[in-house]
């Protein structure tokens, strides 16, 4: 039997949501201190399937629906974490973080430091991020830069089912607060079809992916494309198309923003000499500028050309043609690469 298991795990594929749920379920079975709280996470299973099926196994004490007060339940999660539990608290939309900004920025992120290390905050803040489905300016942001900016929180952004499971195991076991940002369009939901790519083979056993290890999703020699989340798949599609024009693009998936694996990016740029950073967050003061600056710090002489592809600094429009215009697509990435050459 033991011989059969590995073979079967290779054959099975999971959507990103199921991979996340599998990791959460595993950790909850192993450790009674792990529990999940959030809006519509119990009976509904999470509006983006982030907790689908967990209520049946663990019941309402460990899969908790909460009142619509992010301040109250994120504060409760911080307190529970400081008391030795390992809460996972979900922001239904990352856009809602503002009403609980003090709990996130000042309590969750800083209490370890402020207490001189007498408490730590081993919690996971999960949050649905991203647009592309016409949900307007208050439900479509990624806010990667907003969370990665402030010291005290680790920031995780998976792009595939395999990565989502390994990163979730690592997030729950981490003794510091981890913000786990899952892109809605990668989850594999019926009404929001995922692109090809996020559904991958996933081992049934637990495994961890260390934070700060970017993943080269496609190897190439002419240009380095650095991205994360949904745009990993758009970059891979662009790379496929660029290959037909004889341009060999390397695609690096950052996987975590904090800690940031600049080494993998710099190593790639030393080979290609060209850097394109693609981000679904706003252009200013964000991921694109940070990556370009980090590479410039380490390898300015190797950097022949730079482009960044990100959202312009505008609220994300509701109307489909307008949203499609502002969110970078495959053509935008291709164009940015071609303009380098």
């Amino acid at each position: 039997m033991a011989q059969q298991e590995p073979q079967r795990t290779i054959e099975r594929e999971l959507t990103m949501s199921r991979a996340m749920v599998e990791a959460i379920g595993h950790e909850m079975r192993e450790n009674d201190d792990v529990f999940y709280m959030g809006e519509d996470v119990a009976d509904y299973g999470g509006i983006f399937d982030s907790t689908e099926g967990l209520l049946d196994e663990f019941g309402y004490d460990r899969i908790m629906d909460v009142p619509i007060s992010e301040t109250a339940y994120l504060g409760a999660a911080v307190g529970a974490a400081q008391s030795g539990m390992r809460p996972i608290a979900e922001l239904m939309f990352v856009d809602f973080f503002g009403v609980a900004m003090d709990q996130i920025y000042n309590q969750m992120a800083k209490n370890t430091y402020m207490s001189g290390g007498s408490v730590n905050v081993p919690m996971v803040l999960t949050a649905a991020v991203g647009g592309t489905y016409n949900d307007a300016a208050q439900h479509s942001q990624t806010l990667y830069g907003t969370f990665a900016h402030l010291p005290g929180m680790k920031v995780v952004v998976p792009s595939t089912a395999y990565d989502a499971k390994g990163l979730m195991h690592n997030a729950i076991r981490d003794d510091d607060p981890v913000v786990y940002m899952f892109h809605k369009r990668l989850m594999g939901i019926g009404w929001m079809p995922a692109p090809t790519g996020p559904k991958t083979p996933v081992p049934e056993d637990d495994y961890t992916i260390p934070f700060g290890s970017a993943d080269v999703k496609r190897e190439g020699s002419d240009v380095t494309i650095v991205t994360l989340g949904l745009h990993v798949h758009r970059a891979l599609e662009a790379a496929e198309s660029l290959a037909e024009d004889g341009i060999s693009a390397e695609v690096i998936d950052l996987r975590t923003l904090v800690p940031l694996d600049t080494e993998t990016v710099v190593d790639s740029v030393r080979t290609t000499g060209s850097l394109v950073v693609v981000d679904e967050d706003y252009r200013s003061f964000g991921v694109t500028g940070e990556i370009v600056a980090s590479v410039a710090d380490e390898a300015l002489d190797d950097l022949d050309a730079v482009e960044r592809v990100a959202l312009p600094d505008v609220p994300i429009p509701y109307a489909r043609p307008m949203e499609d215009e502002v969110i970078p697509d495959t053509d935008d990435i291709e164009t940015a690469v071609q303009e380098l050459e």
Partner: protein
């Protein structure tokens, strides 16, 4: 055409049909591909009827010989979604 005597149909059917009024649905996700070996009870695919997702489980041990309704394909309740070759 081929000999189907050792093939078991995976059908879009189950107790859930009593709870829906619609006759048609859509295949959302396949978790196994043709040629994969599966065990009875494994989740093979996810279908959606009236916006509700339903997991379809393998009715028997075997190998997936053919997927008849692929992702995004529509089906009518009772349709064969795939064939499993037992053994």
């Amino acid at each position: 055409m081929s000999d189907t005597t050792d093939r078991v149909a995976v059908t879009a059917d189950g107790e859930w049909t009593a709870d829906v009024d619609e006759e048609e649905g859509i295949v959302v996700n396949w978790f196994a591909s043709e040629g994969a070996s599966v065990s009875e009870g494994d989740t093979l695919c996810e279908i959606q009827v009236e916006k509700v997702s339903i997991d379809i489980l393998a009715p028997t041990d075997g190998t997936i010989a053919e997927i008849a309704r692929r992702e995004d394909d529509e089906f009518t309740i009772g349709d064969t979604l795939a064939w499993i070759e037992s053994g």
